[in-house]
C-alpha cells in the first residue's frame, strides 16, 4: 500500500472537472484507491459522487492511498491533478 499527503492547489478544489479527472485516473488502477480529507474517513477515489461529496477546497490537505503494483504511479497522477485541476 502506498500513501501520500498533499495540499490541493487546484483553484476549484476537487469539484466537477478536477474531480472527474481524478476519478478517471483512480479508476485505471487495478487496486483499491481511497482519498480522505485531512484526518477524515477515506472514500473511494473511483466514485465521483464520493469525491465531490468530500468537498475538498483549494489548500485543503488530502490523504490518498493506493494498493497494487501501480500504486506509486497512480498516486503520482492523482497528485498532479490535485495540483493543476
Amino acid at each position: 500500500m502506498a500513501q501520500r499527503r498533499i495540499t490541493v492547489q487546484s483553484e476549484v478544489g476537487l469539484h466537477a472537472r478536477p474531480a472527474a479527472l481524478f476519478v478517471e485516473a483512480a479508476a485505471k488502477s487495478g487496486g483499491e484507491v481511497t482519498v480522505a480529507k485531512g484526518e477524515g474517513q477515506g472514500v473511494s477515489a473511483k466514485s465521483i459522487l464520493a469525491v465531490m461529496g468530500l468537498d475538498v477546497r483549494k489548500d485543503d490537505e488530502i490523504v490518498i492511498t493506493a494498493e497494487g503494483d501501480d500504486a506509486e504511479q497512480v498516486l503520482d497522477r492523482l497528485a498532479e491533478i490535485a495540483d493543476a485541476g
Binding site: 469539484h15 466537477a16 472537472r17 476519478v23 466514485s47 465521483i48 459522487l49 461529496g53
Partner: protein, 148 residues
C-alpha cells in the same frame, strides 16, 4: 427507474454539445444538458433527495436510492465566486424534484463571456443506463432523461 427533470427552461441538447470536454465526454457522468433561456430563473432539483452539495454555481442531489445527480450552472462559473447566484435552500436540505435551488440569470453569465449551458450528469453511472433523453424545448420540471 429514476426520472431526471430539466432543472432550467431552455433547449435540451446532448451532453456532447457542452463546450467543456470533461462534461462533453461524459467523464463527470452521462446525462444531458440544457441551453438555458436567457432570462432570470430558478434552477430546480432534477430529482427528489438531499442537497448533498450546494455551491453557488452547482449542486448535487442525492436520492435515498443512492442515485446522485449533478447540476452545473454554466461552464467555468466557479470563477464568478458566487456573484450572480442566490442559494434558495440550505446544503443538506431535503428537496422534491422541481424545488427551486438556485436563482440566477443565464444572460448575465453570457454577458461575462462564459457559457451558461447547464450539464445535468448522472454520477457514477454507465452511459448505457441513461435513456429517453429530451431534445429541443423544455420547461423546468419537464422530463430530461431516465436513469435505469
Amino acid at each position: 427507474m429514476l426520472q431526471v427533470l430539466a432543472p432550467v427552461p431552455g433547449t435540451a441538447v446532448a451532453m456532447a454539445e457542452v463546450s467543456d470536454p470533461v462534461f462533453a465526454q461524459g467523464m463527470v457522468g452521462p446525462g444531458a444538458a440544457v441551453r438555458p433561456a436567457a432570462r432570470p430563473q430558478d434552477a430546480a432539483a432534477p430529482i427528489s433527495g438531499r442537497v448533498a452539495k450546494l455551491h453557488p454555481h452547482a449542486f448535487m442531489v442525492l436520492a435515498e436510492s443512492g442515485h446522485g445527480v449533478l447540476v452545473h450552472l454554466g461552464i467555468d462559473t466557479v470563477k464568478l465566486d458566487g456573484a450572480g447566484f442566490e442559494k434558495l435552500v440550505e446544503e443538506g436540505a431535503h428537496v422534491e424534484a422541481g424545488t427551486p435551488v438556485i436563482r440566477w440569470n443565464p444572460a448575465d453569465i453570457e454577458a461575462q463571456g462564459l457559457s451558461a449551458i447547464v450539464p445535468v450528469a448522472a454520477l457514477d453511472a454507465d452511459a448505457a443506463v441513461v435513456g429517453s433523453v429530451a431534445d429541443g424545448d423544455v420547461a423546468a420540471g419537464d422530463p430530461l432523461f431516465t436513469w435505469s
